[in-house]
Amino acid sequence: MTLNVQTLSDTTLVMSRTFNAPRELVFACHTQPEHLRHWWGRGNPLDVEMDFRVGGKWRFVEHADGTEHAFRGEYRAIDAPRGFTCTFEYEPMAGHILTEQYVFTEEDGRTTVTTTSTFASKEDLDGMVGSGMEVGAEQSYAALDDYLAKL
């Protein structure tokens, strides 16, 4: 089955893929270490550490061609078996944090997984989207400077 990909914007990707399996099982494959180990590494050995609850962290290390690729993140929302949201980071590119939302829908015994991945810069994560914020902070500090000078 094919993976459909749409780019919603320059920083958001939506992927969907259908599997011949019931939702409970596909959800379990995404959220339980004994299942994840078998596929997430794309056939490469995978170390899985995960604490699947809101605020819990996960870390996967994929051993490919003598090198280790480490990924990590945190679970932000869980609504089993309908979906979950987590953050995703590739350790060599620390700071480039993605938010991934997984939605599982079942129809006629087949399950479609729809993933919305949003790339957020550190500024975005802190709610500092765009340029206005920094300018605003600068202006506030300039006003504070003036005020302090008068005291």
Partner: protein, 109 residues
Amino acid sequence: MPDPIDGVFAALADPTRRAILDRLATGDATAGELAANFPISAQAVSKHLNVLEAAGLIVRTREAQRRWCRIVPAQVRAVSQWAEQYRRLWEERYDALDDYLDRLQQEES
């Protein structure tokens, strides 16, 4: 030393700036022309252009009395390449999941 791609993503995080880039992808424009395209002040457009320029997504040139904004395709491509790599990785992962689900369900039946 800030990572150059960081500035790119921060610049792209704003919908107005993405719309400005979409407009520039069709051809060069002056700040005045861009301001006429968007329901925001000329001052706001100018701020957005500064962010896009700092991220290396556009360059500004002067010709006669007019300043032109031009998109820098290579920098915009860096983002789409990232998206492509990400897609390919998930394709491989989900093919592996297909096989694993088949195995699991055969064991069950």
